[in-house]
């Protein structure tokens, strides 16, 4: 996983609530057995006018002119600002994978689907929660000022406006922050507790043996 410390990038507005993971990456692309290759199909049904299929070459597909991320000013966006309940729906980790490959490192919204929120940290995408009024203000500023760039300082937990004119603090779990800042793999960290897990399991085997039926071991 790529480390995350400080990030500055163009912010793009997605002015709608309940953007679900089916919208972020439609199901036909979930047939892939790989972890990559989802970027071109990010928001596929909104981005293109035709129906996307896995492994399709997207260069000449008809683009939907009404889709916000198709506007040239957001072509290089890496911070996505959306409304409440972003990433609700299915557990597909393909959603943060697609966002990352599509160039995004940060999402800012008032709230998230729990599983998406969790998955994002595991893949190196930082989901930031800001109050609804602050998201309102951001959505406004992004649209008012072309090329609006935000800086996200994970160490200091701040979202910083262009020219440092304003900054807002955000919350993040200490453990998640630590993993993200160091690009650490959770599994390695958990394995430090392997002995504890083994002891716990052994105790469980004795107290609830029906969870460990002999024929399955």
């Amino acid at each position: 996983m790529e480390k995350f410390t400080l990030h500055t990038g163009v912010a793009a507005p997605m002015d709608r609530a309940n953007v679900d993971t089916d919208a972020i990456i439609p199901k036909q692309f979930l047939k892939s057995i790989r972890r990559t290759g989802f970027g071109p199909y990010l928001f596929d049904a909104w981005r293109y006018l035709d129906e996307g299929q896995p492994e399709m070459d997207c260069t000449n597909r008809p683009r939907n002119p009404d889709f916000i991320l198709n506007q040239p000013r957001y072509r290089d966006a890496s911070v996505l600002v959306a409304r409440k309940n972003f990433g609700c729906g299915s557990s597909r980790e393909h959603a943060p994978w697609a966002l990352l490959e599509g160039g995004f490192r940060v999402v800012i919204a008032p709230s998230y689907g729990d599983i998406f929120f969790n998955n994002s940290f595991k893949s190196g995408l930082l989901p930031i929660v800001l109050a609804e009024a602050e998201v309102d203000r951001l959505l406004h500023d992004i649209q008012a000022f072309p090329g609006f760039r935000l800086t996200i300082d994970l160490e200091r937990q701040l979202v910083i406006w262009p020219d440092q004119s304003k900054s807002l603090p955000f919350e993040v779990d200490a453990f998640r922050k630590y993993c993200l800042m160091n690009g650490l793999d959770d599994i390695g960290l958990t394995m430090r507790h392997a002995d504890k897990i083994r002891d716990f399991e052994q105790a469980r085997r004795l107290s609830q043996p029906w969870l460990f039926p002999l024929e399955l071991n």
């Binding site: 557990s91 200490a174 469980r204």
Partner: protein, 482 residues
């Protein structure tokens, strides 16, 4: 908001635990300073879509599966619902299924209900059916509807692929404790009203983000009165209310359901297990961070009209009018949904005509659902405007049971299709799907844009309501079905 379960005898609430508290506490291996918890996982369910990258990750990092016997695998999402002997035409889907086959064999996972096995089916249907979901367990799966298993008094939740890999490698997950929410439903559900209507009404009430950050326990006389199938339908759609996990306390019905299933304990061990399982209820006086109360008698047949499960109404209502909505964000959301759904404001729900009917999915593909739909269809014919009405049992065992009862004949005689088990048109990863502009009455759980096929329009309903729409050609009030 905060409240407690009323108890005349209990005056100290300090050490009273909710069911969720108990399940959580039982599985804590280690807690980091910031509260991040290493939580032991008893069971993991695997399917073809969210596991290939997890197994690949294991291999690349040179890790092993911690405990093979904790894993149960099947195929469900991308397989067609035609007989396995006909194979999988889509080469990408075929590769995905073959990859699971290969991983299961290479790693040595023994519990595999592969395509063609009579016990194969949707993960959330087969695991309870096999007794592989038991009360008191932590159970995870790379699928958000894992909440289904909470119906058996388990702590069950959906995870992403990195977490699938984490659970395979360590038999644990890193998690944080959620808050407690109680959804208390008392009274009696009127005739014709099912767990599906109840859960849609709950989502309509609290919203699709209402449960975010909470574990939901469903309690009250109406919940106790639900069958195990009904409780699974209810817990299944908990994720549509924003909560990752939902659960129902263990009672006699839970025990009766589990007894005798292949992986369930037997003999002396059964008694030992039951003694423990009976403690899996919220203590009187246990504290919940939020309480929602509903009266079962008020629930009417529910139909979603929009592109989020919270956009739901009763069959007696009319399509909402955005002009009457004052909040601008909500109004825009409504307008967008109506445009996508091709609906005019103020249209009576009963005037909405459907092109396809889908009876299936992990929400409603169990034997009771098949029976409820068959009872509506019996002796009638599919409406001419309905192009396809598809019935997809949740597992091979449900299918076999339904066929023993002759239900498939009822469907076939009415012009409905009777398919092989799988997820099917719930998400249309296989050939079963809606075409652009087509409208469905569906017993599945999500009405998101494009969920059942690009440009498809989904209305979520109960099995009886879906079946009735298939016969009438439009939505009808099942309470007046003769």
């Amino acid at each position: 908001m905060s409240a407690t379960i009323a108890s005349p005898t209990e005056n100290s609430v300090m050490h009273q635990q909710t069911l969720y508290d108990k399940l959580w506490n039982q599985h804590v291996v280690h807690v980091e300073d910031d509260g991040t918890t290493v939580l032991y996982i008893d069971r993991q369910l695997l399917h073809e879509v969210t596991t290939p990258q997890a197994f690949e990750g294991l291999k690349l990092s040179g890790r092993k599966v911690w405990r093979l016997s904790a894993n149960v695998a099947t195929v469900d999402h991308s397989i067609p619902t035609t007989p396995p002997s006909e194979g999988i035409a889509d080469p990408i889907a075929r590769l995905q299924v073959e990859t699971l086959d290969k991983n299961v064999r290479e790693w040595g996972i023994k519990q595999y209900f592969e395509w063609g096995d009579p016990r194969q089916g949707i993960v959330h249907v087969i695991s309870p059916e096999q007794g592989s979901t038991l009360p008191g367990m932590t159970l995870v799966c790379g699928d958000s509807h894992t909440s289904t298993h909470g119906a058996l008094g388990a702590l069950a939740f959906g995870i992403g692929t990195s977490e699938v890999e984490h659970a395979l490698a360590t038999q644990t997950l890193l998690a944080r404790k959620m808050k407690n929410m109680l959804v208390q439903v008392d009274g009696v559900l009127p005739a014709g009203i099912t767990a599906k209507d109840l859960v849609l009404a709950i989502i309509g009430r609290i919203g699709t983000a209402g449960g975010t950050g909470y574990a939901i326990e469903y309690a009250g006389s109406a919940i106790r009165a639900l069958s195990m199938e009904g409780r699974m339908t209810l817990c299944n759609m908990t994720i549509e209310a924003g909560a990752r996990t939902g659960m129902v306390a263990v009672d006699e019905q839970t025990l009766n359901y589990i007894k005798g299933r292949p992986f369930a304990p037997k003999g002396e061990m059964w008694d030992q297990a039951v003694a423990y399982w009976k403690t899996l209820v919220s203590d009187p006086g246990a504290k919940f961070d939020r309480v929602v109360q509903m009266n079962a008698a008020d629930i009417k047949p529910q139909v979603t009209w929009g592109t989020s499960p919270e956009m739901v109404l009763s069959i007696e209502d009319r399509v909402p009018d955005p002009d009457k909505e004052k909040d601008s964000t909500r109004r825009e959301g409504m307008e967008r949904a109506l445009k996508y759904m091709g609906l005019q404001p103020n249209t009576p729900i009963t005037d909405i005509r459907v092109d396809k009917v889908f009876i299936g999915s992990c929400t409603n593909s169990r034997i009771e659902d098949m029976r409820a739909a068959a009872a509506v269809v019996r002796g009638r014919k599919k409406a001419a405007n309905v192009k396809v009405a598809m019935v997809v049992p949740g597992s091979g065992l449900v299918k076999a049971q339904a066929e023993r009862e002759g239900l498939h004949k009822i469907f076939l005689e009415a012009g409905f299709e009777w398919r092989e088990p799988g997820c099917s048109m719930c998400l249309g990863m296989n050939p079963d799907r809606l075409e652009v502009g087509e409208r469905s009455a569906s017993t599945s759980n999500r009405n998101f844009e494009g969920r059942q096929g690009t440009g498809g329009r989904t209305h979520l309903v109960s099995p009886a309501m879906a079946a009735a729409a298939g016969i009438a050609g439009h939505f009808v009030d099942i309470r007046h079905w003769k």
